[in-house]
């Protein structure tokens, strides 16, 4: 079994934290993992993405082949769309609905959302609002991870929640508890 995931967002939105949590869970579960990140110039408010590959078998390439990504997890709707050509036929897109407009020529929002919603498998949520309403404004990225949890499949929601405990352990119990709460908010928001 394999799961090829593209994590997308704008520099500073916290996609690498999502990658760290999934990566930790995969390592503990004994899965093979490769995760290509973007460092350097693009982190200054530009588009950032990470190719995260999980498998029960050996993984060769650090990059995901076009048309084979199983899941796109994005902190921003246009950034989710940016990688749609990488998506497999049955692939899922899990994204925030909140546009991040730090460029003057951001596309027409309605047309962009319509294109996004025309994809066959999408889960879209205003994660910033959900996180803020729950008093967890800094945990929007973990809300998104919770939303994505049921599509990651190769790892269970429980394995991911345990990983949150380990990844945030150094920041204290309160931070762990807040992130677990954010994770469950996302998880329950996309319940059928």
């Amino acid at each position: 079994m394999k799961k090829d995931i593209i994590l997308a967002g704008v520099g500073g939105q916290g996609i690498l934290t999502i990658a760290t949590i999934i990566g930790d869970a995969a390592a503990v579960a004994g899965l093979s993992l490769k995760q290509a990140e973007v460092h350097g110039m693009s982190q200054r408010g530009g588009d950032v993405q990470s190719n995260l590959r999980l498998s029960t078998e050996e993984i060769h390439s650090d990059l995901i082949r076009q048309g084979t990504a199983d899941l796109i997890i994005s902190m921003e709707p246009m950034e989710a769309l940016r990688y749609q050509d990488a998506l497999a036929k049955d692939g899922w897109v899990v994204t925030s609905s909140h546009p991040y407009k730090n460029i003057p020529n951001y596309p027409d929002e309605k047309a962009m959302m319509a294109e996004l919603c025309s994809l066959p498998h999408t889960a879209i949520l205003p994660i910033e609002d959900v996180a803020r309403d729950a008093g967890l404004p800094k945990c929007a990225n973990v809300v998104l991870l919770g939303m994505a949890a049921r599509y990651i499949e190769i790892l269970s929601a429980e394995q991911l929640r345990e990983s949150i405990g380990r990844v945030f352990a150094s920041k204290g119990e309160k931070v762990v508890e807040m992130n677990c709460r954010a994770f469950d908010l996302g998880l329950n928001a996309v319940k059928e």
Binding site: G23, Q35, S61, L63, G67, L87, K89, L119
Partner: protein
Amino acid sequence: MKRLLLGDEAIALGAIHAGISGVYAYPGTPSTEITEFIQANATDVRSRWCTNEKTAMEAALGMSYAGKRALVCMKHVGMNVAADAFVNSAITGINGGLVVLAADDPSMHSSQNEQDSRFYGKFAMIPILEPSSQQEAYDIMPYAFALSEQMRLPVLMRVVTRLAHSRAGVEIATPMAQNQLNPDNERTHWVLLPGNARRQYASLVEKQAQLLKLAEESPYNKLSATERAPLGVVACGIAYNYVMENDPARLGVPVLKVSQYPLPEAAVKALAAQCDALLIAEDGQPVVEEQIKALLGTDYAVKGRLTGDLPRMGELTPDNVGAALGVVMEQSFTTAENVVPRPPALCQGCGHRDVYDALNRVAKEYADARIFGDIGCYTLGALPPFRAIDSCVDMGASITMAKGAADAGVHPAIAVIGDSTFTHSGMTGLLDAVNDNSRITIVISDNLTTAMTGGQDSAGTNKFEAICLGLGVDPAHVRVVVPLPKNMEEITRIIREEIEYEGVSVIIPRRECIQTLNRKLRKKRAQE
């Protein structure tokens, strides 16, 4: 359990476990995290940042001279800066193991060119190692140092962005102890007067046959079980992964993996003898493709970047390598329509923003103003909304290009350079300008850190006025300002005054990088 490590971290841990006593480096994407990992994880390894790649290379050679193992790290263009010391370290030879790590950036994710460091290794006539995975990057480090000490030569290790900045599980081995202090006594090796240099070069030439033999026998080069096939592949470094992703065994394509150079010619010939054509998959420039063309002659079909079977530029991917192997993937979705580029930008609240705002206001008043930029976050001043700079070429070129343009008659000729770039390669250019009394205005935009690469210590912090005065700039024309919107009137007035001065002036806008400042505040808050 395997440890999850970035390629850079795997290299760093491999070097620590190979018993290095020092790492010498200047920050540069994608190599920076190697030194950062050593700084954070090995207190018994000397690891402070160096002023530039040349000082790093020379200090590492000094540690090698003293008998200890040393690692030098840089991005590919840093090799140009270190080249004098690097090439001559192959002539002196080494004492303690010396490994030079060059991180290339095909596709120029964070660079101004995609030069291939393997040319430098070949140029200096030393062994090159090119690991294909994070595990191999870790494993190959002790091997690299042993190879260096066995052949008494520096070893070049070449990686690319996708290996350096990709994470994977790595199996960890037992650490080795550091070497004892044991300075070399062979002055004839180290004093490169022509008489000695000729002997040393002859010895380097003589070692080439042994280097080739070691590459032929290397555990890191391997030829897959082969039978007659229409096409064979030579896969170098990380390209091996992209080839393997396409399942060459299923395609009936034999593969020669190359991770140690000089190019194992016997293995290439053995593969060629069983195939009608060879595809050369290598990330970067067609270094191996050219060599194999020469090796097999014009009648043999050698495919690769030079023939258009692979793209001439840009990094390899599992897709373009797959296409060269005839593997066509089904694409379910097209490129989206409602997507626009999102270029990086200077952070909100960044002092460079106020510097460019001021420069643009003043430059508008002169028809022929030219602003020569340099390498760093502030290169983003080239993009909207500022569009402020006319050039950005290499570390330090802002000052020297402004000088040359002023010599030719350009006025005002303004240089914008960051604090770390100034100490890296700007100081010597400033001395030239002072000695010529060139009519240039130099802006050292000091944010107290090496910001572009993530906020490493900057070599000249708190020393800039003293450096400029020491190099001979008139004290009346070394001006310090605080780049904030509320100071705009003062800053623009000072820029105007210094443009009108008929000599070298230096303006130092100084305000801490907003990123490092926020990081410190967060850390402080967490401690409270």
